[in-house]
């Protein structure tokens, strides 16, 4: 570590530093290696990332990992100095923030499952807004009758919310332990509509689990 902390960093470290610094978007180790003409030698390049990350610890800039991609950003504790009023972030509706959280904590998840958790129909526009923001994507279809589309988060989601991975989602473990992230296959509203037949076979089966 000393040659980084005190002296001149080696060539690969300098090259990785310059590449990530100049890049217009976060890059994976592979992408950086390829750019440096070291395609397939990601293992040689990877240590430079963690060394750089350590070097920038405590500085005004940080090297962070978001999913598989790395980028430099300003230190979060300086937010109050750097925040720009003119740059208004897209204001998300409450519905959109809830849907985003549900997608992130449950992914991949179908629209019906989102609606089951929220107990209300989700306007098509809500998912569209999240997809337009680049935080949610269609992740395929679930192989069940009707083959519903399922949704998941994107790398940009991790980048925007400063998460190394989905495992870092706040409270994830507690929620999981409390069974609050278990699959929702019970539609209470539907059951209520179906009041007379409410004690349907499925419901009974669920009750027996």
């Amino acid at each position: 570590m000393t040659e980084i902390e005190n002296g001149v960093p080696d060539d690969i470290i300098r090259a990785v530093e310059a590449t990530l610094f100049a890049a217009e978007e976060p890059l994976t180790v592979d992408q950086v290696a390829t750019h440096l003409g070291l395609a397939g030698k990601a293992a040689d390049v990877a240590p430079a990332f963690t060394r750089l990350q350590r070097h920038y610890e405590g500085r005004g800039i940080q090297l962070v990992r978001r999913g598989e991609r790395w980028h430099f950003e300003t230190a979060p504790d300086l937010a109050h100095l750097l925040r720009r009023e003119k740059e208004e972030l897209r204001r998300l509706s409450r519905a959109a923030t809830e849907v985003l959280a549900i997608v992130a904590y449950h992914e991949p998840v179908s629209r019906a499952e989102i609606e089951a958790i929220r107990g209300v129909q989700t306007a098509k526009g809500t998912l569209d807004v999240l997809m337009e923001a680049g935080w949610v994507r269609v992740a395929g279809r679930r192989e069940v009758p009707g083959r519903p589309v399922i949704y998941a988060t994107t790398p940009a989601f991790l980048e925007h919310f400063g998460l190394e991975s989905l495992r870092e989602l706040p409270g994830l473990e507690e929620l999981r332990a409390a069974g609050l992230l278990d699959p929702v296959d019970e539609d209470m509203i539907g059951a209520a509509l179906d009041l007379e037949n409410a004690r349907s076979p499925q419901t009974v089966r669920n009750g027996d689990d």
Binding site: T19, F21, A22, A23, E24, H35, H71, F72, E73, T74, A75, P76, A79, L82, R83, E87, L89, L92, R94, A95, T97, E98, L100, A101, I102, A104, Y105, I117, R118, G119, V120, Q121, E159, H160, F161, G162, L163, L169, P170, G171, L175, A178, G179, L180, V184, E186, M188, I189, A191, A192, L193, L195, R199, T203, V204, G207
Partner: protein, 254 residues
């Protein structure tokens, strides 16, 4: 909610109903007003609060979405089931249903809180910032064109062959012309040291000269060429017998 609206209780209720994200959302809000852990709320109290809300809204003839009414009906059913023990218990029993309702509320609550925590994180572009003016990485794909000398001259040969006028291309006229025969015979004589049979001046029967007709024309042209060379004093001819081999050689000093 529009704070500017004159704030009678009824108006307030109306506006709030407009603000709910569905009946479960309303229920969750009412549950939170009990100010206890969601696991320990009084379900009967919650049901009453919900039904009161809906009744007031109906009294004011507010338009309520159907799912609010469905929820009200279901809650009323749940309440009666909880209060009036029956002989034949349906499965699942009301306690089980109440538990599930609580679970639903907890789930929604968990996601609502998770959303709030997510939104409060250090967000890129709000709290932390990427580089303002990155130079950008560019990979210029450049073609390096390849072509070698052979391809080049061959291509030219191809163009030339292709573009020659084709008007004279009649098979029957495949001949060796007199001019070329004279050139050929005289150049061959130039290097010959002895008499040569006229037939030896005809090109070997191969490749483009394989055609017997063409070779006959070559023999004829070579004969005329031999006469011409003899006439101009450049060669001499000899024939020992009629129809015998015609031989010729360069005339010394020519």
């Amino acid at each position: 909610m529009d704070a500017g609206t004159p704030g009678a209780g009824a108006d307030k209720l109306y506006l709030e109903i407009e603000g709910w994200e569905g009946p479960l959302d309303l229920l969750l809000d009412l549950a939170r007003r009990q100010k206890v852990d969601l696991l320990r709320i009084s379900l009967l109290e919650l049901v009453d609060a919900y039904l009161t809300y809906i009744e007031e809204a109906e009294a004011l003839q507010l338009e309520l979405a159907a799912d609010y009414l469905v929820m009200a009906a279901w809650l009323a059913y749940l309440k009666s089931a909880l209060l009036l023990p029956r002989e034949e218990q349906e499965s699942p029993g009301p306690e089980e249903l109440a538990l599930r309702l609580q679970m639903r509320l907890q789930r929604l609550n968990a996601m609502r809180e998770a959303a709030a925590r997510l939104m409060a994180r250090d967000r890129l572009g709000r709290d932390v910032f990427p580089r303002g003016a990155p130079e950008g990485l560019r990979v210029d794909r450049k073609s390096r064109w390849q072509c070698d000398w052979y391809d080049l001259v061959r291509a030219y040969g191809g163009v030339k062959v292709r573009s020659q006028p084709v008007v004279h291309m009649v098979r029957e006229r495949m001949v060796m012309t007199l001019d070329s025969a004279i050139q050929r015979v005289s150049s061959m004589l130039g290097v010959a040291i002895d008499w040569m049979d006229l037939r030896d001046f005809v090109p070997a029967a191969q490749d483009s000269w394989a055609d017997p007709q063409l070779r006959r024309s070559a023999l004829a042209s070579s004969f005329v060429a031999a006469l011409e060379l003899a006439r101009t004093g450049k060669a001499e001819l000899a024939q020992e017998e009629t129809y015998g081999p015609l031989r010729l050689r360069a005339l010394k000093g020519s």
